[in-house]
C-alpha cells in the first residue's frame, strides 16, 4: 500500500460478490489512462458508483471505499473499444442462418438497423469481453446497397441489453466495393450517394408507406432508405465512409462541399498517408486497418504498416480498425506492432501511449463516447481491465474485467472446452461427463 495514499477502507474484500457494482480502489497498479500518455507506475484507480473518480499517481488524497485491491504492479487499463465490428451479429460466419452481417437479398440498405438483430449472448461478445473489449461499434456491412444501414454502439457486459445507442451511425461503401454494388463503376456509387443525400435533405413528406418498398433488383434506393438518411444529411448521425484509394478519400472529403453538415468518419483508408494533410485539414477522423501492407487490390497499392503512424503525425485522429482483423481481440497485437515499427528506419509507428489510445480513447471518441469510454479519468464509465502482463504484448490477457464497475464473468464456450481438455484428451469416462 502506498504511504502517500491515505486510505480509509470501510470494508476489505468482503463484498466482492461478482456481477454487482462495487466501489473499490485498485492500488499498486501500472495504470494506463488511455489518453495517449505513457503508463504510470505505482498508480491508483478509484471506482465509485460505477464510475471512475480517480486514475493516476497516488496524490495523497483520502477517500472511502468498499474494497482495496492491491494488484501488485499489474497493468490496469480502461476497457478496450473496438470499432467497426460485427460483434453480436453473427455466431458462425459461414453458417448463413446464424449470420446477420449482410442483408444481401433485402430491398433495404440505409434503413437497416443493427440494434434490432443483436444477440447479447453471442459467443463472440463473450470471447471479446474476456479479451478486454468492453464497448464496441457494430454494424451490418454493405451488401445489397452501398449503404450498410445504421450501426449501434454496444457494451459487452453480461446483461441482456447490449445496445447503448441504436442507430448511432450510418455506413456507406465507396471505392471498389461501392462501385461493384452500385452498378460497376465508382461513377455509379457517387451518383447514388449524392442523389440519396440530396433526396434525404429535401424529404418533407411523412414517413414512407409500405407500398414504397420495392424488391426489384433495379431499385437502388427505397423510400425507407431515404428516410433513414435524413439524420445523416443534418449531421445528427455520422456517416462512416469505407474507402481505401487516395483519390477516393479526397472525393469522400469533397462531399462536404455539397453537404456541409455531414459528420464524416473514414474507414479502411489504406492510402491515407498519401493525403494525410488533406484529411487532417478536413478534421475528419479515420478508422484504419493497422497492418495492411499488401497491394491486395488496385485501391490500396500504397498500403503500408506506416499508414497510421504517418497520418497521426500529420494530425489526423486515427483509431485502429477492428473490422480489418481476423478477430477484434487482436487489437492489442496490432497496436503493439505499430510500436515495434518505430525501430525500422523509414517507417513511422506510434508511441506506446498513442498505440493504446488507438484501441481505447480514440475509437471511443469517434463513436461519440469521448471522456466516457476508453479512458480512466474522473467521470468516465467504470470499465476497467486488469491484465496479466503488458496489454499490448503477445499472449497477455485480462485477469479481471469490469464494466460500469461490475466485475464480469469471463467464461466462454472456449474456456469451457479448455477446462474440459486440460487434463488430457482422454479420461476414464467420456469427456461428455466432465462439465
Amino acid at each position: 500500500m502506498k504511504t502517500s495514499l491515505a486510505l480509509f477502507a470501510s470494508l476489505f474484500a468482503a463484498c466482492t460478490a461478482p456481477l454487482a457494482a462495487q466501489d473499490m480502489a485498485i492500488v499498486n497498479a501500472t495504470v494506463v489512462t488511455g489518453d495517449g500518455g505513457e503508463p504510470i507506475k505505482d498508480g491508483v484507480v478509484i471506482i465509485e458508483a460505477g464510475r471512475v473518480t480517480y486514475a493516476g499517481a497516488p496524490d495523497g488524497r483520502s477517500f472511502e471505499t468498499d474494497a482495496v485491491m492491491d494488484v501488485n504492479d499489474a497493468w490496469v487499463t480502461p476497457g478496450l473499444f473496438a470499432t467497426v465490428t460485427t460483434l453480436g451479429l453473427v455466431d458462425v460466419g459461414a453458417v448463413s442462418q446464424s449470420n446477420d452481417q449482410g442483408a444481401g437479398g433485402a430491398p433495404f440498405g440505409a434503413a437497416l438497423e443493427t440494434a434490432l438483430a443483436l444477440n447479447p449472448y453471442s459467443q463472440h461478445l463473450m470471447v471479446h469481453r474476456a479479451a478486454g473489449i468492453t464497448r464496441a461499434a457494430t454494424s451490418t456491412v454493405p451488401s445489397a446497397s452501398i449503404f450498410a444501414g445504421q450501426g449501434a454502439i454496444i457494451d459487452l457486459d453480461n446483461d441482456r441489453s447490449p445496445v447503448m445507442k441504436a442507430d448511432a451511425f450510418q455506413m456507406v461503401a465507396l471505392g471498389e466495393r461501392g462501385a461493384a454494388i452500385a452498378g460497376g463503376s465508382r461513377t455509379a456509387s457517387h451518383a447514388l450517394l449524392r442523389a440519396a443525400l440530396r433526396e434525404a435533405s429535401m424529404v418533407r413528406r411523412p414517413m414512407p408507406r409500405t407500398h414504397d418498398i420495392e424488391a426489384g433488383s433495379d431499385v437502388l434506393l427505397g423510400s425507407f432508405d431515404v428516410e433513414a438518411l435524413r439524420h445523416v444529411v443534418t449531421g445528427e448521425q455520422p456517416l462512416y465512409i469505407r474507402v481505401e484509394r487516395a483519390s477516393d478519400i479526397l472525393q469522400a472529403l469533397a462531399l462536404k462541399t455539397d453537404f456541409p453538415n455531414l459528420d464524416l468518419v473514414l474507414v479502411g483508408v489504406s492510402e491515407g498517408w498519401l493525403v494525410a494533410k488533406e484529411i487532417a485539414a478536413a478534421g475528419v477522423p479515420v478508422i484504419a486497418d493497422g497492418l495492411d501492407d499488401l497491394p491486395s487490390n488496385f485501391e490500396q497499392l500504397a498500403a503500408t504498416q506506416s499508414n497510421i503512424g504517418r497520418m497521426t503525425r500529420a494530425g489526423v485522429t486515427v483509431a485502429i480498425n477492428a473490422g480489418g482483423l481476423n478477430h477484434a481481440r487482436r487489437l492489442p497485437q496490432v497496436a503493439g506492432n505499430l510500436v515495434a515499427l518505430n525501430k525500422v528506419p523509414g517507417a513511422t509507428g506510434l508511441s506506446w501511449g498513442e498505440a493504446f489510445a488507438a484501441i481505447s480513447s480514440i475509437p471511443a471518441k469517434i463513436s461519440g463516447m469521448g471522456d466516457q469510454a476508453g479512458v480512466l479519468q474522473p467521470g468516465a464509465l467504470g470499465d476497467v481491465v486488469i491484465w496479466d502482463g503488458d496489454p499490448l504484448e503477445l499472449g497477455s490477457i485480462p485477469t479481471r474485467v469490469y464494466i460500469d464497475g461490475v466485475e464480469q464473468d469471463l467464461t466462454t464456450h472456449q474456456s469451457r472446452l479448455r477446462d474440459r481438455y486440460k487434463s488430457g484428451p482422454k479420461g476414464a469416462m467420456p469427456k461428455a461427463f466432465d462439465w
Partner: protein, 456 residues
Amino acid sequence: MGAALAGVAATATATAKDKDKKKKDDPPEFVAMTEAEGPYASTYTPYPGVATALVGATVFDGAGNRIDNGTVLFKDTKVVAVGDASLSTEGYRVIDGAGKFVTPGIIDIHSHLGDYPSPSVDAHADGNEATAPTTPDVWAEHSVWPQDPGFSRALANGGVTSLQILPGSANLMGGRSATLKNVPARTVQGMKFPGAPYGFKMACGENPKRVYGSRGRMPSTRMGNLSINRQTWFDAINYANDKEAKRDLGKETLVGVLKGEILVHNHCYRADEMAIVMDMAKEAGYRVSAFHHAVESYKIGDLLRENGVCSAIWADWYGFKMEAYDGILENAAFLHQSGACVVIHSDDENDIQRLNQEAAKAQAAGRRLGIDISDATTIGWITLNAAKAMGIDAMTGSLEKGKMADVVLWNGDPLSVYSRPEKVWIDGALMYDMMDRKRRPVSDFELGQPGEGDVK
C-alpha cells in the same frame, strides 16, 4: 515404287514379324521425360554471401536449444558452427548481436502466396482447380506467380526463408504442393527448394462437400468425401500394380504418396474426421504428414502422437465456419503436453508476416495453465517442426553444422510483439536488411506504383 513392293511381297510374313520385334525393342519415337528425370527442375542456386559471424546474441537453434551470448558462423551457403562465445570468428565478417536474437529462417508450411497472389483479383485466382473433386494431377508450382509482392513482406516482416505453396481446399485432393525458397526470381523454378519432396494437398469436411454438393454432384456429404477418396486410392493401387498401365498424371502423384516420396498435407478441422483420415491412410497404405488447420487436434493429441502426425495450426482463429467452432487458444499447448508434433502455420498473406507472434500467443496460452513450453521449443514450431513435416529437415529448419545458412537476426526477442527481423539470410546470402533500404526486394508489379520501395 511398284517394283519395290513386288519384291517385298514374297517375304511379307517375315517382315511383319520383324516390324513387331522392332516396335518392342526400339525406343518409341515420342517420349516425355519421366517423373524420375525431374521435369520443371529447380534452377535456384544461392546468391553471393560473405562468411559471417553473428556474435553476442541469444540463439534459438530451432531444435529446442538456447544459447545465451551465442555465436553462429556461416560460410559458403552453409552453417559452419553454432556455439558459445569461445568460437573463433577469424576469417568471418563479425556482426554484433548483443541484445538481439538469432533463429533459423522461419518456415511456413501452409501458404498460398503466388497461387493466390496480390492483387487478389479474379485473374489471379489460381489456387483451386475446383472443376472436379479430385485433381491429383495439378501441381501448385504451375500456378505460382513469382512477382507476388507477398513474398517480400513474408521475408522482411516475417523472416520467412522457406514456404510450402499448397493448392486450395475446394477439392478432396487438390494437387501437388511446391516448396520454395523465399527468394525473388523470374520463374518459379528459380524459387523451387532444391531436393525438397513434393507435398500432396487433401481436404476434409465442409469445403469439398459444399463446393460439389452445391452443384448437385458428389460429394455432398462427409461420407461422400470418404467414398471418393477411398475409391481414388484403390484405383491408384490398381494402377501401381498394373505394369501395362498407360501414364496417368494424377495417379503418378498418388503412387508417389503410396511410396512415401510425396508427403500428405491434409486440411482437416474436426477431431473425429482426422481420426477417420488416419484410418483411411492405414487402409490405403500411406502416411499423413500433417493435418492443417486442425483446430480440434487438442481432442485427439494421443492419436496424433501414436500416428506420428503433425498438426499445423493457427494460434487464435476460431468460429468463422462450423468446423472451426471449437477452436481454442490452448490447442498447441495441449498438443505439446500430449507429446504430439506442433507446427504453427499461416494460410494467410498477412499472418505469414508474423508467425513468430502467432507462436508466442500459443505458447502464452499454455503458460497460463502451467504448461511450460520453452522459448526455444516454441521457435521450433515455426522452424524445425515445419521442416520435418515438409521433409526438408535434413537441409534446413535448424542452425546445425552443414545445414543451409537460412538465418534471421531479430532486433529483440522474436516472441515479443516489439521485435522485428533485422537481417535475413537465405543460403548465406543477405536477402533483407532493415537498416539498408535497398536491401529489400521490390517485385516487378510494384515498380512505378505508389509506395514503391516503401518500408511496407
